[in-house]
């Protein structure tokens, strides 16, 4: 919980990771390139006081994660969204066993979402059923730019991907977090195209599709899709640190999201350990649309409360203490599919 000026905010960090990118876990040069790319994101968008040494960034461990999120970071509940990246890391990038063990120790604070890759076809589908039972899955993280054999990415509307989504729907895995990285095959197309989200959102209306980093770098295409598909949501990972480096740009992002979606379909996430939540939460609560940007309405406290936690809590049935709910005259829309 975060308190400022007498207002109390329930905080859900909807996208966190426990990763291991240390050299002994790197399978090849791409393992190093990947974490270096993350580290550049971290260095480029963090305030100087929040920049970690490279060695710390390679691996955090559960103890540090608990401290950064729950002791220092005001977070009430956080959701693991692991990326496997088996083509880059020996034991995967997201540390499944460590993250799940931590979730079992702190079930009130952590939710574990797992990942799948439709290119594993039937074997992966069988595994998904076992994973759903073992982890008690409510959600999953899909990284469409994952490399797999000769393939360097997949589309959500491919044959096997649809099979997995059907199974997820059947198993009650309702919240599908989609991370659109550069999907390379085929190279003729825009690698960041979000049109496949539109197709599956139309066909799987019982599922929520949370598009991480709100479709960036294709914010405009994402907004257009989300306007038409009520089960498409925006995750603020990667976008929210722009509050520090580019506050006027962030004002435009949040302004556009509120215009094209609405305040019930935007979720806070730090993308830990890309960034740490403490400074993001403090600054978001203080953030305001600049006065000269008259095309956007000022952000309200109620909107900030929804974005920082109440929206994701509703999607994941996370209990919120009464005193942290919005008052009755500003009801949370039951827009969650």
């Amino acid at each position: 919980m975060y308190t400022k000026d007498g207002e109390k905010y329930f905080i859900v960090d909807a996208h966190i990771a426990l990763w291991d990118a240390r050299p002994e876990n790197q399978l090849n040069i791409h393992g190093k390139q990947f974490i270096d790319c993350f580290y550049d994101y971290h260095r480029n968008l963090s305030p100087e006081s929040e920049v970690w040494p490279y060695e710390d960034y390679l691996y955090q461990g559960g103890q540090r994660l608990m401290k950064d999120l729950f002791e220092d970071g005001y977070v009430d509940h956080a959701i693991f969204q692991p990326a496997h990246l088996g083509a880059f890391y020996r034991n995967g990038f997201g540390q499944t066993e460590e993250a799940f063990a931590l979730t079992q120790q702190h079930p009130d604070k952590l939710t574990y979402n797992h990942c799948w890759d439709p290119r594993n076809e039937q074997d992966g589908l069988d595994q998904l059923r076992r994973d759903a039972e073992r982890f008690g899955l409510k959600g999953a993280k899909l990284y469409t730019a994952e490399w797999h054999g000769d393939s360097r990415g997949y589309k959500l509307d491919s044959y096997w991907s649809r099979k997995y989504l059907e199974t997820a729907q059947e198993l009650g895995i309702r919240n599908i977090h989609v991370h659109k990285g550069p999907t390379i095959r085929p190279l003729d197309r825009d690698a960041f195209d979000v049109a496949d989200i539109d197709k599956v959102a139309t066909d799987f209306t019982e599922l929520n599709f949370v598009v991480e980093h709100c479709g960036l770098p294709r914010l405009e295409d994402f907004c257009w899709i989300a306007t038409q598909e009520p089960n498409v949501h925006a995750g603020l990972a990667v976008a929210i640190p722009f509050m520090h480096t580019r506050p006027r740009y962030f004002a435009q992002i949040i302004g556009e999201l509120l215009y094209w979606l609405d305040e019930n379909r935007i979720q806070f996430s730090s993308d830990y350990a890309l960034w740490t939540p403490r400074w993001l939460i403090e600054r978001f609560v203080d953030f305001q649309i600049p006065e000269d940007m008259t095309e956007y309405a000022p952000l309200t406290t109620a909107q900030k409360k929804k974005i920082l936690g109440l929206n994701a809590a509703a999607m994941y049935d996370i209990p919120v203490p009464d005193e942290l709910q919005l008052p009755r005259e500003e009801p949370q829309a039951a827009a969650v599919a």
Binding site: P186, P217, L219, R246
Partner: protein, 235 residues
């Protein structure tokens, strides 16, 4: 014989299609060396994982622009520190073309990709000019009838005309300004929505440009000196 100034001017014509800015302004040219007729260029990008199709387009366009200089001899273009550097550099050295470089990951061509981003660049340029006119007192219900001859002279209008030309749209003063990618006007009642959509395209491109420039400076601190000052485009 080629001079370094000629080579640099040739590189000025190579544009990052996604950001709609010359690679020279973005700081993507890491080094340029000219020796008699021969030119060697190294390119650098903000991350190892920048989309390889755009990376290839820029590198191949750079090689084409330099090779077209009168008197050019051997032109060598290298893409540094990218996950597909080996593949792309081999393809460039052999003039293997898109298919020859990427094999079966390439289907037809990159023409459609180029077209998508030329259209986005036009949409953003159109919004920039028209929003400027709205700020100066034009009413939104007058937008539908604005023609190119009404646009205020200045860099924003010049940029819009250049992007219309790239798309093959009419550039005479009587042509309507708020149009789709084929030069057609929208129904009058759609004007507010179309302007809003165009704004989101402009914000997206400008935001990506901020991010890519910043990441490049983080990755290669010396690139800061090569980047042109960012225009304060974000309104």
């Amino acid at each position: 014989m080629v001079t370094e100034a000629q080579a640099r001017r040739a590189l000025d014509t190579v544009v990052d299609p996604e950001l709609d800015e010359p690679i020279t302004d973005l700081g993507f040219v890491r080094s340029l060396s000219v020796s008699g007729p021969d030119v060697t260029v190294h390119l650098r990008l903000p991350t190892s994982f920048c989309a390889p199709n755009f990376a290839y387009l820029m590198a191949a366009d750079a090689k084409d622009a330099l090779s077209a200089l009168p008197g050019a001899g051997t032109v060598s273009v290298f893409l540094d520190d990218h996950h597909d550097s080996d593949l792309i550099n081999r393809g460039l050295a052999a003039d293997a073309g898109y298919h020859g470089t990427f094999g079966d990951e390439a289907e037809e061509s990159l023409d459609e990709l180029r077209t998508i981003f030329r259209r986005k660049a036009h949409t953003a340029a159109m919004e920039r000019v028209l929003t400027g006119m709205l700020r100066d007192g034009l009413r939104e219900d007058e937008l539908h009838d604005v023609v190119l001859g009404d646009l205020p002279p200045g860099p924003a209008t010049t940029a819009l005309l250049r992007r219309r030309e790239a798309l093959g749209l009419a550039c005479e003063p009587s042509a309507f300004a708020l149009v789709d990618e084929h030069g057609n006007r929208y129904p009058r009642e759609e004007v507010p929505l179309r302007l809003r959509l165009a704004r989101s395209v402009r914000i997206s491109i400008e935001g990506n440009s901020h991010f890519c420039r910043g990441l490049l400076r983080t990755r290669y601190p010396e690139s800061a000196a090569d980047q042109t000052p960012e225009k304060e485009k974000v309104s």
